[in-house]
């Protein structure tokens, strides 16, 4: 548990240092995720300890968004003034993004599967 947590923090730290040093617009934790992923590929998978610790952390990922989400109390005035465009934009764009991504991905996966099956049938 402690070793795995230290490892996660270490990768975050390395990511943070790279992001600052190279002035990248990508946050340190995302770079840390990429580096840990590369390390896992090289090493051939996570240790049991790392798997359990990250499983525990990710099981309650929702909890970690609560403090920032509560910041909504600061924007009462703006939300009251612009509630219509903000609500419509959030609702519309979220639904559109989910639908477009899912439909494009499904169409591409089907197209990939069918020609191969069709190709085998032809002489």
């Amino acid at each position: 548990m402690l070793g795995a947590l230290t490892l996660l923090l270490l990768f975050q730290l390395i990511g943070e240092v790279i992001a600052r040093a190279l002035a990248l617009p990508i946050p340190g934790p995302v770079i840390g995720m990429g580096l840990l992923f590369l390390a896992l590929l090289l090493r051939g998978g996570p240790s049991e300890e790392l798997r359990t610790t990250s499983g525990t952390l990710l099981m309650h990922l929702s909890l970690l968004f609560v403090p920032a989400g509560t910041g909504i109390v600061l924007y009462g005035d703006r939300l009251a003034a612009e509630w219509l465009p903000l609500t419509a934009a959030l609702l519309g764009s979220t639904a559109l993004a989910i639908a477009v991504t899912a439909l494009v991905l499904r169409a591409l996966m089907r197209r990939r599967e069918t020609p191969r099956a069709g190709g085998e049938a032809r002489p």
Binding site: L57, G71, L86, M109
Partner: protein, 244 residues
């Protein structure tokens, strides 16, 4: 009696203990309700916890900053949790690699749809420029979205709220959309919710299946990268084009 009570309150609101305990209590109550509701998306634990705490802050008059001084310890764990997403990603790697081409095309389509449709709908209904620039990056994970909003001239803290609202909307609504569009594949479901609703969508996807969670985590990471490099030049270009 009331004098000593208010003294206790003064003491408690000066330490991080109260905000931290409050966050954990609210979340556990929310998660209990979520489980009681059979993990129904409408009983989303982020939505419920935020509502509980927001009402409490408004009723007691406790400033958000005081609350956050304690809650920041939970907030901090977002960093290591993001790094930890590498583990499910690794577990699903063979499947992800086999689908690389379709995933990249779906990523570009979904990422552009999220940012441009938010901008377009907001602009048509008369949102201010500050709000529009805070809206555009709202589908990606909080730290990236805040940095992008700042570089565009939006308000980073407003972006944080819009990001989390987007996450909740996706986590709550995706199931109905998938049913409507007849999308059953957990890889496709996970990837789409990760593109549109970042970490909160990913959290919801993990509660559905590990496969959905890993695809969501990948989508969230990729959309974060793409948005970070594309929006800072795409939106100013769009504004010039529209003559705004």
């Amino acid at each position: 009696m009331s004098h000593s009570l208010s003294e206790i309150w003064v003491y408690l609101s000066a330490t991080p203990l109260l905000g931290l305990t409050l966050t954990l209590l609210a979340y556990q109550a929310a998660f209990w309700l979520y489980r009681r509701a059979g993990f129904h998306p409408l009983a989303n634990p982020v939505l419920l916890s935020v509502s509980f705490i927001a009402v409490l802050l408004l009723v007691t008059g406790m400033p958000y900053k005081t609350y956050f001084d304690g809650a920041q310890f939970v907030h901090f764990l977002l960093g290591p949790a993001t790094v930890a997403l590498a583990i499910p990603l690794y577990a699903q790697w063979p499947k992800l690699k086999a689908m690389a081409g379709p995933l990249v095309i779906a990523l570009v389509a979904g990422s552009l749809t999220a940012a441009l449709s938010a901008y377009a709908i907001g602009a048509m209904l008369g949102a201010s420029r500050e709000s529009l620039m805070s809206l555009a990056p709202k589908s990606v994970t909080t730290p990236i979205a805040m940095a992008v909003a700042e570089s565009l001239g939006g308000l980073p803290s407003l972006t944080a709220v819009l990001v989390i609202t987007t996450g909740i909307l996706g986590a709550v609504g995706a199931r109905y959309l998938y049913r409507l569009l007849r999308i059953d594949d957990h890889a496709v479901r996970g990837f789409a919710i990760g593109i549109a609703s970042h970490g909160i969508g990913t959290a919801r996807a993990f509660q559905v299946s590990e496969q959905a969670g890993a695809f969501a985590a990948l989508a969230m990471g990729l959309n974060g990268l793409l948005t970070a490099v594309s929006l800072p030049w795409l939106l100013p270009w769009l504004e010039r084009l529209l003559g705004r």
